[in-house]
């Protein structure tokens, strides 16, 4: 008979393992990391011969890239030294006390921060409505300074998740945005302006500042301007001359012969017709690639871009709003494996 030692651990019998989710990094741990980071920053500054007091994050990055050069392609894989709050994601502290009783009254809903946020926002809504009724009862006018819709946007779902430290579903997010929208659309929402601003972000109004090229002059003194356009796989260059009769040549061939279809010719003339300059410009274009309609679209874009130099800033804005100056991003969708085409599936057979 052999005596076999059987080992059992108490770990298996440990209850309340819920804490293995949150608190992977305790507060003490993170504090220690921050101290170490600050010390390390000063040491690095000393090593590089710079002043430890004014050593910014950019200097740290440069120093690390110098001391530990790495040829790895993924920037996230290279050695980095950043503040611990950027490296260790923020985590929620344990939501219940020693007796096991949760602190928050909505803990058992599962999404306590989301529901408490919804409750708060609704409370603000009711507040605003009460204030409105108050004003109406006193026959005072309801003020409405229009919030600039154009300049701000609501937080995205990811940003909201970071703010609440909790996962949200798309449905939840859209409900929250609807509620916020409702709140901000009320006439007297100025009272809760601070609360709303927590959830809105400024959109940088500066769109791509496109530099409009000045006109060039050729030997005869005629002003002209060149530009390129593309659509699907077609690439086109257009040279638009001033003081012309409205003739258009593509790859040395007149447009009437190159584009027998009316729709393509309409597209070519679209920018000129929009600005009212049909008989005034001569155009010479070269185009390659793509199909019939793609080439027409590419030349249209090239002509519109070239016309920008001939025209005032306001008209350029009008052209942009008419959709003449945007590159069409639609391309052929790739075929997927397991399907016959991009969307079409194989015939479904029951057996």
């Amino acid at each position: 008979q052999m005596l076999r030692l059987i080992y059992t651990t108490t770990a298996v019998q440990r209850k309340n393992v819920g804490a293995s989710g949150p608190a992977k990094y305790t507060e003490a741990f993170i504090k220690k990391q921050i101290e170490e980071f600050n010390l390390g920053k000063r040491h690095l500054a000393n090593m590089m011969g710079e002043d430890p007091e004014t050593f910014t994050q950019e200097d740290i990055d440069r120093a690390i890239a110098y001391l530990f050069p790495s040829g790895l392609f993924d920037k996230q894989a290279r050695p980095m030294m950043k503040h611990p709050s950027e490296i260790f994601p923020e985590q929620r502290k344990i939501q219940w006390g020693e007796d096991g009783r949760p602190f928050h009254f909505l803990f058992y809903t599962g999404k306590q921060s989301y529901y408490s946020l919804m409750h708060e926002t609704y409370e603000k809504l009711l507040n605003v409505e009460k204030y409105q009724d108050h004003l109406i009862a006193q026959d005072l006018p309801l003020q409405k300074e229009k919030r600039n819709l154009a300049g701000s946007r609501w937080l995205t779902k990811i940003e909201l998740e970071e703010m609440l430290l909790e996962k949200l579903s798309d449905d939840d997010y859209s409900r929250f945005v609807q509620l916020l929208q409702k709140l901000s659309d009320l006439p007297c929402s100025d009272i809760e302006e601070k609360y709303i601003q927590k959830f809105s972000k400024e959109v940088p109004v500066q769109m791509e500042k496109v530099v409009i090229e000045p006109l060039q002059y050729d030997e005869r003194g005629v002003a002209f301007s060149t530009s390129e356009g593309r659509r699907k796989t077609a690439r086109a260059t257009a040279v638009v001359y001033d003081n012309g009769t409205g003739k258009m040549t593509v790859n040395g061939i007149d447009i009437l012969h190159y584009f027998p279809v009316l729709q393509d010719r309409e597209q070519l003339l679209f920018p000129f017709q929009f600005l009212g300059r049909i008989g005034k410009h001569d155009t010479v274009c070269t185009v390659s690639g793509g199909g019939r309609s793609a080439q027409a679209g590419a030349i249209r874009l090239a002509c519109a871009k070239a016309l920008r130099s001939f025209v005032t800033g306001k008209e350029v804005e009008f052209m942009r709003q008419a959709g003449l100056l945007t590159v069409d991003p639609r391309v052929k969708e790739r075929k997927k494996p397991g399907q016959e085409g991009a969307r079409r599936k194989f015939t479904w057979k029951k057996r």
């Binding site: 154009a150 729709q263 027409a296 709003q321 959709g323």
Partner: protein, 215 residues
């Protein structure tokens, strides 16, 4: 989890382009509040590229291009467009014939512009109310339901096209048959108008179930 099936290459913040020249030449004072807001929004947001079927010329009409797209088969836009132009030409010829034969006092009542005839015919064919299948307690009922504008236009165009494709003699060509149907619809006669009236009668007959609708 919401999985996108219908997605587009454009970012959702892109707005639709506005091709109509006159809107841009209007001075600022004439715009209403909403239009001003729209303009401000357009000044900040990016705008999608204009599709090849859209143009600012006087000859392009959104209804006509929609109809041409619906008539198109296998992506043959060239053929569909030529059929459309032939239809409009046929309408013009027939109306001109009538115009020259008519006595003096009736000459003004005869409409010669094929675009006006097309628009009026489509308007006459649009049903006001439609039926939708609602299942309640195991049985499916046909419930009368108000239709949206888009749906009305779509149904009118669809009926016209199916009518022309099916109920014709083998030798007649599409433009001829279409022009016939459009002229009949313009006068509120013809099989498409009859279909519309049948639908209205069905809706009236099923009036009892109208309360099943919850939207």
């Amino acid at each position: 989890r919401l999985m996108q099936v219908r997605w587009s290459r454009y970012n959702p913040s892109y707005l639709e382009p506005e091709v109509n020249k006159e809107l841009y030449q209007k001075p600022l004072e004439e715009l209403t509040e909403e239009e001003r807001e729209q303009m401000e929004l357009k000044a900040v947001r990016p705008i999608k590229a204009a599709p090849p079927s859209l143009s600012s010329s006087v000859f392009s009409d959104p209804m006509v291009s929609k109809f041409t797209n619906m008539m198109m088969k296998d992506g043959n836009k060239v053929l569909a467009r030529s059929l459309m132009t032939q239809t409009l030409e046929a309408i013009k010829r027939k109306q001109l014939e009538k115009y020259h034969k008519a006595p003096e006092n009736e000459k003004e009542t005869i409409e010669c512009n094929p675009y006006i005839i097309f628009h009026q015919a489509l308007k006459n064919c649009q049903p006001i109310i439609g039926l939708s299948n609602i299942t309640k307690g195991g049985k499916t009922y046909q419930v009368p339901v108000p239709l949206k504008d888009n749906r009305k236009r779509f149904l009118a165009m669809k009926w016209l096209i199916t009518e022309c494709r099916e109920n014709k003699h083998r030798r007649t060509l599409m433009p001829e048959k279409l022009s016939q149907e459009l002229l009949l619809a313009f006068k509120n006669e013809g099989p498409v108008i009859k279909k519309k009236h049948v639908l209205h009668k069905m809706a009236e007959a099923n009036r009892a179930y109208a309360h099943f609708r919850w939207w």
